[in-house]
């Protein structure tokens, strides 16, 4: 057997975004031996791109805000499909997690009396997002990164994990991967593994996600026997750039709307007033005058409809474009120029200003932006226990975007960054508790390891075969048109057939050149997870015969109360990796205790 570089740790953490870093800090703080592994350089994960802010009911701007209101907003935003316990812990703990960052060097924007300033975004009743201009994610990841570095946590950068390894009892006991800069393989044994690998957006054509968002963690968890839930719940953010084509999908922060930006169609009309669902009517403004008063004083009027939850806004934009009232490049107009001073816009939204100026040649202080929906975030993910983040496989924990449940069928803006902090910490604690109670030294199966290595090298052995970029492009186009923002049964059926063909093609990928920093090979090794995750999303979408949150079925346009009571659980009972059969079955949601149920009855 070949000899590979190998390491042994108490806990390995796969992913160095906000969730992974926060987990590493916690586990290291417990005195454990911790490794942090990521595909890019440290500090470049998706978290760095987050713009608008981090949600926490600190009540710095509206003192009446509290965790119950945040909890209620989160559950309603998720159309009640959320794991209530996660939503509760998240609402209760996020204020402390945000304040803790200040002790580690973060510098948030301030209120007049020197506290952390909070901004409005959709679905939150109160101004709740702590932020730094529109580069909050950068502040968050850099703060955590600097803290982790100061704790001497071992970091393996540009190292891709291919598969989790398990011992004879099925406990997760390590992982195998390779260094991207050298192409050499590396194995880890560990008493516990935390997945913090982020999202899946790269399988769609128009997305705000980077090359990293291939769903490796979702796929590896399922391959190892863990359950995934509600994978059909994918968030299309209402405002991505639409032009030039090459930047289509790049995010325009919701902070634009929170700070006064409004959506208009080609007639100049603020069309969102026409799309207020019954569930939100009582708290949404009826006229432009009423809405405009709200920005300065939330008691003077009700919320503008532009700040409805993202699923509502994205669908409305989609309808306007379909009705022929879109902008020249197939979006709608997002107008802050006519509503706020140039100085205000540049101060509050500096990176949006920069982004449009440089990439589209548009000055957002003078002209409206063209925007349209972009694949952004997955609410579904690995099924976890709320308190410990334990998955259904012993020794495996998951936090951040890779974990499911917290956001139900739709996530509110700012609730991801806070999710990373709250559940990243809990993953570190959960893994540490597990390690302390675990007996025996972890062992890995070397035959399995060798099989993974050989499989991943096959593309080099084929003289002719498929170009991995072609497969990726075809997958993205197929998912965009068949499993996009509006879905229907026949197209989803078709998608499953197409996925079979794509898997077959992926079996025949050929790559030239060496293993040193070879992006074609790197992509070839991403395809199995992209295909596994795409199939999971498609199966979920086909089986959830209703519309709820981020999942919209043209053939079942309304929410169905029966589906509102279940999670769709996906698993691979007989293994098989990207070829394995995926089983899907509904299971009842966790039951919310009565003292929390009251919160929803009062306000109906």
């Amino acid at each position: 057997m070949a000899d590979y570089e190998s390491h042994s740790y108490d806990v390995i953490i796969i992913g160095a975004g906000g969730a992974g870093l926060r987990a590493a800090i916690e586990a290291k703080g417990r005195g454990l031996n911790v490794a942090l592994i990521c595909k890019s350089l440290l500090g470049k994960a998706h978290t760095v791109m987050a713009e608008g802010g981090v949600a926490a009911a600190m009540g710095n701007v509206y003192s009446e805000d509290n965790w119950q209101v945040h909890f209620r907003d989160t559950m309603r935003g998720g159309k009640m499909l959320n794991n209530w316990r996660m939503a509760q812990l998240h609402a209760q703990e996020s204020p402390d997690r945000v304040r803790e960052l200040e002790g580690w060097g973060a510098l948030f924007d301030r209120t007049k009396d020197g506290r952390i300033l909070q901004r409005d975004v959709g679905g939150h009743r109160s101004a709740r997002l702590a932020h730094v201009g529109d580069r909050t994610g950068l502040e968050l990841i850099r703060t955590l990164q600097q803290k982790a570095v100061s704790m001497d946590i071992d970091v393996f950068m540009e190292c891709k994990i291919l598969k989790l390894l398990q011992d004879a009892e099925g406990r997760v006991s390590g992982a195998i991967g390779y260094w991207r800069p050298t192409g050499e393989f590396i194995s880890f044994t560990a008493k516990a593994v935390v997945l913090a690998s982020g999202g899946v957006g790269k399988s769609w054509k128009y997305t705000s996600n980077s090359w990293e968002g291939t769903g490796d963690g979702h796929a590896m968890a399922m391959w190892a026997g863990a359950d995934l839930i509600d994978m059909e719940c994918v968030q299309f953010h209402p405002t991505g750039m639409v032009w030039p084509l090459s930047v289509r999908g790049i995010l325009v922060t919701e902070g634009v709307r929170g700070d006064g930006g409004v959506l208009r169609n080609s007639d100049g009309k603020r069309f969102m007033f026409d799309y207020v669902a019954d569930m939100f009517r009582a708290e949404t403004a009826e006229s432009e005058e009423e809405a405009d008063k709200w920005y300065d004083d939330h008691t003077a009027g009700r919320r503008p409809p532009e700040l409805l939850p993202r699923d509502e806004v994205a669908r409305s934009i989609n309808s306007e474009v379909k009705a022929g009232r879109g902008s020249p490049h197939g979006g709608v107009f997002l107008d802050i120029a006519s509503r706020r001073s140039a100085e205000f816009i540049r101060r509050r939204l500096p990176s949006m200003y920069h982004q449009f100026m440089e990439l589209a040649g548009v000055d957002i202080t003078a002209t409206a932006m063209e925007v349209g929906p972009t694949c952004h975030y997955i609410m579904g993910g690995v099924r976890v226990d709320a308190d410990t983040t334990a998955t259904t496989v012993p020794g495996l924990f998951a936090a951040g975007e890779v974990a499911g449940g917290m956001h139900g069928s739709n996530r509110l803006g700012g609730n991801s960054l806070s999710d990373l902090l709250v559940f990243g910490r809990r993953a570190g604690m959960g893994a540490a508790d597990y390690v302390e109670g675990r007996t025996g030294t972890p062992t890995i199966d070397h035959d399995e390891l060798e099989a993974v290595v050989q499989e991943s090298l096959k593309p080099f052995t084929r003289e002719t075969g498929e170009n991995p970029y072609d497969i990726q492009r075809d997958l993205q186009e197929m998912m965009q048109s068949n499993v996009g923002i509006i879905r229907t049964g026949s197209e989803l059926e078709e998608a499953l057939v197409e996925l079979d063909k794509l898997v077959e093609r992926a079996d025949n990928v050929a790559v030239k050149g060496g293993r040193v920093y070879n992006p074609a090979w790197n992509l070839a090794t991403d395809l199995p997870s992209m295909l596994t995750v795409s199939r999971s999303v498609t199966l979920g979408a086909l089986n959830r015969k209703e519309s709820r949150g981020g999942h919209t079925r043209e053939d079942f346009p309304k929410p169905d109360p029966e589906f509102g009571k279940v999670n769709l659980v996906l698993s691979q009972p007989s293994g098989g990796g990207m070829h394995g059969e995926i089983k899907i079955s509904p299971e009842p949601l966790l039951q919310m205790p009565d003292d929390l149920k009251v919160l929803f009855e009062e306000t109906k």
Binding site: E102, L107, D109
Partner: protein, 258 residues
């Protein structure tokens, strides 16, 4: 649209050469878009780094027509007509094609003594917006390392890397030094062990910073002034002795790190 010629450095740590590629141009594209299309069609193993495609992550640094820039923020239609030359950052060892070994920067990050605030009062720290703004300017840094790449102190003298933090880390020291809550004194450390004195304020770093951070004016020069104060100003020193020093000394702070 008309075809464009991309002249890209291909090679590894053993050497390489510029290779020309012809490819059609598309409206509104940035250099990184064209590189991506080359990867998907003509050069699948062409190595480059990227993540955000929007100037936020600092991954895609390279030299475009000799100018250090982010590939994702450089519009093709704003470059002069003719071939577009893309080469890796010069100051760091080559891994492959446009990808360099930037580990020097991560090593320097480890040597920064950690932020050390007093315990937080009930309800969190209070800081005024004006006081956080100075630090916020430096915290805009996306770690593209373009400033490190152009600084002649390391570009021309490889051996300086052992004792020269470079502009990216001077702003980090400045940020901590100006942080309303920090209690570590890093002034002598940055002067004596991080090579602040080697910087002769050429401002090349400021010129290339994609975040428009005024590295020299707002960080390096004030830091130099403060470091001099720390060293020579007996009154300030005496003052600290008498009033009970609030900050840890440079030696104490340095001892906290490798």
């Amino acid at each position: 649209m008309a075809d464009v010629t991309m002249r890209i450095w291909r090679g590894d740590d053993k050497g390489g050469q510029l290779v020309d590629y012809r490819i059609e141009g598309n409206e509104g594209e940035v250099v990184l878009d064209v590189i991506h299309r080359l990867q998907a069609t003509q050069a699948p193993d062409l190595a480059c780094r990227w993540n955000c495609k929007a100037g936020k992550c600092g991954s895609c640094s390279a030299e475009i027509n000799g100018m250090p820039r982010l590939m994702c923020m450089t519009r093709m239609d704003q470059l002069p007509a003719g071939p577009v030359t893309v080469t890796p950052m010069r100051t760091f060892p080559i891994i492959k094609d446009l990808v360099t070994d930037v580990s020097f920067n991560f090593e320097m990050a480890k040597r920064v003594p950690a932020f050390n605030p007093p315990p937080a009062p009930e309800g969190g720290y209070r800081m005024a917006q004006v006081d956080v703004e100075r630090g916020q300017e430096f915290r805009k840094c996306i770690e593209c390392f373009l400033c490190q790449n152009v600084c002649h102190v390391i570009r021309d003298h490889e051996d300086n890397k052992a004792h020269y933090a470079g502009p990216r880390f001077f702003i980090r020291y400045a940020e901590l030094e100006m942080h309303p809550l920090d209690t570590n004194d890093r002034r002598e450390l940055v002067r004596e062990r991080m090579g602040l004195g080697l910087c002769n304020i050429t401002k090349c770093c400021t010129e290339v910073c994609p975040e428009h951070i005024k590295i020299t004016d707002n960080a390096i020069i004030p830091l130099k002034e403060r470091a001099v104060d720390a060293h020579y100003d007996p009154v300030a020193w005496l003052g600290r002795k008498i009033t009970g020093r609030k900050k840890r000394s440079a030696d104490e702070a340095a001892a906290l790190r490798p």
